[in-house]
Symmetry: C2
Subunit: 341 residues, 2 copies
């Protein structure tokens, strides 16, 4: 199965299948982390040959997604005399993918790179669409670039070792896509009548469709932030320690649904249906807010909050999104009150 | 006078004229250095208004073109709560332009920026075409991006304070463009029958034409490296201390011309003509090589040397370039021998 991404800057395929034999007549660096390397590096290298193959291993964890580790990657490439014709391969989850993409975008002003995601979240979300980045003391993904890979290879083999919570976090993004764009897809997830590969493929197709329309997130791409506007605040308030990203997004979707209900769009039934699908997929659906004013103020720390307008993405109904901005503070507080401790 | 750049990633104008009044209804940061700020900040701010105006001042010099100063710029932007709608203005020479462009390309995955170059070199070369970058311990401009500005404003007012050597260094790039692409332009420079503005405009037009064909330097854009392949080695061997970039390029052009002569293209007369134009414009035309083997080996440190093939750009005749690669080492040594101490 494959899907094509077609942006102004690049056209490339996302291949969902057993990893094919990859042979490169150029220098290749696989960038991964210790954990993934320990579990899966043989599976990869058995399928990979290159003129020269280097493995660059990073520590595992979001806290290492910083400039120091980008410099570490770049220095290894310079040491190995990589040139503009060389290739990087991101082999891991979102952290490895975002960092490899960023390194590829700035090494000698840009070299080719390939994504081989190993987590469900990276497969359906971060590996698709060319967002790269690192964190700094001001926040997450605040430094980075839009830089598309040359190909994405999605092989569900790697999911066999993925912890259950991380699998669920990936499901959150899949459910998000279904609620935003495709009722039929949502029904299939709800009824368990779709295979994992088919589910990944549909999620990727839907994301590709959005990215093809708006590579640089000037408009429609922001729709992918359903659940994220609330979710980012939850992650922030809990210092990114309590919830995985996908878990915070799941709660954020429940909150966005409440907003939609108050505004008269989503029905009580539909909101409940979404909640149950999230729950069935081992995702949290509730969060107790200590202080709703504080929660509200956190919206303005988001890099997507331009000109002090908060943009909310809500389902008008299952399968149809709606973008809301310039919304009255009191209405938001009313939503938050439902989650108050 | 204006010229338009039209690349796959952006279309924008290069305006060669007295700086117009610029009014922005968004946050603006002017990035400059202490020297330029001292000389010209009033001239700029008298023509500039913004919703919020910040001036970020860097130390003056190539040695500050590094990640530490990019981080300094980014931190100031985060402190001032700049968002995706904010604008950066590069106000200075090539160092300021390259750093501002790089910072703009990675701040929140890319914000708008404008170039207001203050040196002749930046006006005709570095501000046009979207190359951004910084140096590191491995070399110059090894980290960076291709990222186009939204506009370039070229006002020769700023050249009134430019040191004579730096003016000459800018002339080297102008003469380079003439020799590569436009015999008539070369004749005008030789005969002193063209105004400074017209000269800048023609050089920018010629560069724009190349960039429009090959934004990411996959092919034809490498033609702009006439004089640079030899020049980079000269800069390297003298630790970037003896010559300004344009001066090294001037010597590099003389060397490339010798190569062209040996290969049977450029006539002795034409080579001499170019030499005299460089000389008349206060540029060096000779360099004594200590060790020609060492000089030769330095070609392979250049980031443009891919797959161990050195690419030389030479004039086939004045006004017509030729790209040469896969050239026998002995021929290059023969050229270098002419410059041996």
């Amino acid at each position: 199965m494959k899907t094509t991404i077609n942006t102004p800057s690049k056209t490339y395929d996302i291949i969902i299948d057993k990893l094919p034999k990859l042979n490169f007549d150029r220098k290749v660096a696989v960038i991964t982390n210790h954990k993934i390397a320990g579990l899966h590096i043989n599976y990869l290298t058995n399928n990979l040959s290159a003129k020269e193959l280097h493995i660059i291993t990073l520590p595992d964890g979001e806290e290492y997604k910083n400039w120091q580790n980008i410099e570490f990657i770049l220095d290894r490439l310079f040491d190995a005399k990589f040139d503009r014709n060389s290739l990087l391969i991101a082999f891991g989850g979102g952290v490895v993918g975002d960092m490899t993409g960023f390194a590829a975008s700035i090494f000698l002003r840009g070299v080719d790179f390939i994504q081989i995601p190993t987590t469900l979240l990276a497969m359906v979300d971060s590996s698709v669409g060319g967002k790269t980045g690192i964190n700094n003391k001001y926040g997450k993904n605040l430094i980075g670039s839009f830089y598309q890979p040359n190909a994405v290879y999605i092989d569900t083999h790697f999911l066999s070792t993925l912890p259950k919570r991380e699998f669920a976090a990936g499901m959150a993004e899949i459910i998000k896509m279904a609620v935003m764009f495709d009722k039929d897809f949502f029904e299939k997830i709800k009824n368990n009548s779709i295979s994992l590969e088919e589910m990944i493929k549909r999620a990727v197709e839907l994301k590709a469709d959005v990215v093809n329309q708006d590579e640089k997130e000037k408009g429609i791409r922001s729709v992918l932030n359903y659940g994220h506007t609330f979710g980012h605040v939850i992650e922030n308030l809990t210092n990114y320690k309590t919830f995985l990203h996908g878990e915070a997004v799941a709660i954020g979707m429940v909150m966005a649904n409440e907003l939609s209900k108050i505004l008269g769009y989503l029905s009580e039934n539909e909101a409940e249906e979404i909640k149950q699908v999230l729950k069935k997929n081992n995702l949290p659906i509730d969060f107790k807010i200590e202080n709703i004013e504080e929660f509200y103020n956190h919206f303005f720390l988001d890099k997507k909050t331009s000109n002090n307008k908060i943009k909310f993405i809500i389902p008008e109904k299952i399968g149809k999104y709606k973008i809301i901005d310039d919304i009255d503070k009191n209405i938001i507080l009313k939503v938050l009150k439902k989650f108050e401790k």
